[in-house]
């Protein structure tokens, strides 16, 4: 059997004294797109933060294997260099740091960590221009400070631009549809779909089924009270939409 791109085994995590993840088991094979659906407060976003290595959360049990390698001992930048990418639900505004400076630092830090040579400025400029075109990102937006004064839609498009430039092998998209109108949702989804690849996997975390009309998943996982309670095909998302999450709560209890 080939190594899954992401394997989460019995993952428990807490913030301060509160346990939020209570034994998550999840496998995403290479090239597949999996959706994680759950109601607010079920621990979906915590899962994305724990995968990316946010300090506030303490992992108390379990393993996370990225392409067969345990990443829980790595800091967020090391995980990113190994090919993990988290598209934030709320991208952080960073005043004083120009978007282009940030993009270049991110690309070259990852290349350096992997022992590759730095990208030249002309190559970098070309890559940004090419990736930005499809996402309707103009150069004015890139001249501003990172995410500062970006609209909700601009922030999400900027996340996908970063994803396109960094070429991760495992993408975690946390509520990428939140705050998007239908047109923006389409642009973002097209951007994500363009990055689907037999060597790239995605974990799409969402509250609503509508995103999954645009980014069609191979597998849907239902998340409740800090763990996966049911997995199935894309029709599971429709079932959830029809019945609500209440029907799945019993499985979690």
């Amino acid at each position: 059997m080939t190594t899954p791109m992401l394997e989460i085994r019995n993952l428990h995590a807490r913030i301060e004294d509160r346990e939020i993840l209570k034994g998550v088991n999840l496998i995403v094979p290479a090239g597949q797109v999996h959706a994680v659906m759950g109601r607010n407060g079920s621990g979906k976003s915590t899962l994305s933060y724990v995968l990316a290595g946010k300090e506030d959360y303490a992992v108390t049990e379990g393993e996370v294997l990225l392409d067969g390698e345990d990443i829980l001992g790595l800091d967020p930048s090391e995980r990113a260099a190994k090919g993990l990418f988290l598209a934030f639900q709320y991208p952080v505004e960073v005043p004083g740091v120009a978007t282009m400076t940030f993009l270049k630092a991110a690309i070259n830090s990852q290349r350096k960590a992997r022992g590759e040579s730095e990208m030249t400025t002309p190559d970098f400029m070309r890559a940004v221009k090419d990736a930005g075109r499809d996402l309707h990102i103009d150069s004015d937006m890139l001249k501003r400070a990172l995410n500062v004064g970006f609209s909700g839609g601009e922030k999400k498009r900027a996340e996908i631009l970063q994803m396109a430039l960094l070429k991760p092998k495992m993408c975690v998209l946390d509520e990428t549809d939140s705050g998007l109108d239908i047109d923006a949702l389409k642009v973002v989804s097209e951007g994500v779909n363009a990055l689907r690849d037999p060597y790239r996997s995605m974990l799409v975390i969402t509250h609503y089924q509508r995103l999954l009309n645009h980014i069609v998943p191979d597998v849907v996982h239902v998340f409740s009270d800090g763990r996966v309670v049911e997995s199935g095909g894309k029709e599971l998302a429709l079932e959830l939409e029809a019945k609500g999450y209440a029907g799945f709560d019993e499985a979690a209890a």
């Binding site: 930048s77 988290l86 004083g96 740091v97 400076t101 960094l166």
Partner: protein, 401 residues
């Protein structure tokens, strides 16, 4: 009946009193004898107890040649060396600028020990008068050279009506236990535009005091940037006064402190006439065991209606042992004004750190990107590219020594 408690006079005060007496400034000497150097009980020195911090004062400086390398160079700028209080104006001045030397200090009398010392001890003032909108930057390179010296030097800058200038004054010299007490008197004429930068690059063993007073004419635009980097003990006194309607002041500063340093920036903005605006913005970053302090006061006179003033202070703590003090104050006597102040101090934002690191940027690089971003807001408005780069360079050296 008042009770006189005799003030204990320490060696620093003893030396200063002797120097004042020799200079014939008996009133200033008596005052110091009676009150001593200011302690934390004096409000304007609350965070910088000079009696405790200033342990010794060396002999008054003798004139000498500059031996240290310029600590700061701006390509294309016109540099005027000023060594141990003496300015060298022998070179060809830029078109539209006249340089002369006058006797005594340029400062206006004020109840402040540093002002009194400079007024009594500064022998001469370098006067620069600018009548032009020429863009050549003027760099007054003020240095304290040789063995430990006590220097009192003075500069008078006048930017005539409708003129435009960028003037930077740097403080540096040999890394000795100097006490340098600098003065700048800055007058900005009607409709004139001035960017005035004070940059301390003294050695860590040195004490650097700098007092600048600003007089801003009608419709004038003034940007000031006070930057502390070098001196072990530093105090900036900034006194500004809007004197003509429609004047605007962007008073800004960067107080950067590292292991063993104590640096204080104290600002007093006075709105004396109606319809003026000011936007003081000061940032402090402290690391190691160091202390950075900022006091900012905006005074709006009874006649200064329609004043628009917003004072902002931001602090960034890079170590657990660092201390940052911040005291914004408003004193408003007019009833139709928009005034505000704010102050925030903390460590680097954890969410920003996580965001940068989640993109593969290692911790140390992410930290310096955020610190640089924090500083950038102060340096960014400097239009001249060479000067901007030079300022970024000195800050970069502070970040990565």
């Amino acid at each position: 009946m008042s009770v006189h408690v005799p003030v204990r006079i320490g060696p620093a005060e003893q030396a200063l009193i002797g120097q004042l007496q020799s200079a014939g400034a008996s009133a200033a000497a008596e005052r110091l004898q009676a009150a001593g150097l200011p302690t934390r009980k004096v409000e304007s020195y609350h965070y910088t107890d000079l009696k405790m911090l200033l342990r010794a004062v060396p002999d008054l400086a003798v004139s000498t040649e500059a031996t240290s390398e310029p600590a700061f160079r701006v390509p294309g700028a016109h540099r005027i060396p000023m060594t141990n209080g003496g300015a060298d104006i022998s070179g060809q001045m830029p078109a539209g600028m006249v340089a002369t030397i006058a006797k005594g200090s340029a400062l206006t009398e004020r109840d402040d020990v540093l002002v009194r010392l400079n007024s009594a001890l500064a022998k001469e003032t370098l006067k620069l008068e600018i009548r032009s909108r020429a863009t050549q930057i003027v760099h007054v390179d003020r240095r304290t050279e040789g063995g430990p010296s006590h220097v009192n030097d003075s500069v008078h800058l006048f930017v005539a009506d409708g003129s435009k200038a960028t003037i930077i004054e740097t403080f540096s010299g040999t890394d000795e236990a100097h006490v340098s007490n600098h003065a700048s008197y800055v007058a900005v004429g009607e409709g004139a535009e001035l960017t005035h930068i004070l940059l301390d690059l003294s050695g860590g063993n040195a004490t650097n005091f700098a007092t600048a007073e600003y007089h801003i004419g009608a419709g004038a635009k003034l940007r000031t940037i006070a930057i502390h980097i070098g001196a072990g003990l530093s105090r900036f006194n900034l006194f500004t006064r809007h004197e003509g309607e429609g004047a605007h002041g962007d008073f800004t500063g960067l107080n950067l402190t590292t292991e063993g340093q104590h640096s204080d920036i104290t600002l007093e903005v006075t709105h004396a006439v109606p319809r003026c605006s000011s936007k003081p913005l000061f940032k402090q970053i402290a690391r190691g065991r160091s202390t950075a302090a900022f006091q900012g006061k905006i005074v709006v006179a009874r006649d200064a209606q329609k004043t628009d003033a917003k004072l902002m202070m931001q602090g960034l703590m890079l170590s657990d042992e660092a201390q940052i003090y911040s005291k914004p104050e408003l004193e408003i006597f007019a009833d139709d004004v928009v005034c505000g102040h704010g102050s925030t101090t903390g460590a680097l934002d954890e969410d920003s750190m996580f965001y940068l690191m989640s993109r593969g940027i290692p911790q140390t690089i992410a930290e310096s990107m955020l610190v640089r971003g924090f500083i950038e807001e102060i340096i960014d408005p400097v239009e001249d590219e060479a000067l901007h780069l030079a300022l970024e360079g000195v800050v970069e050296r502070w970040l990565n020594p």
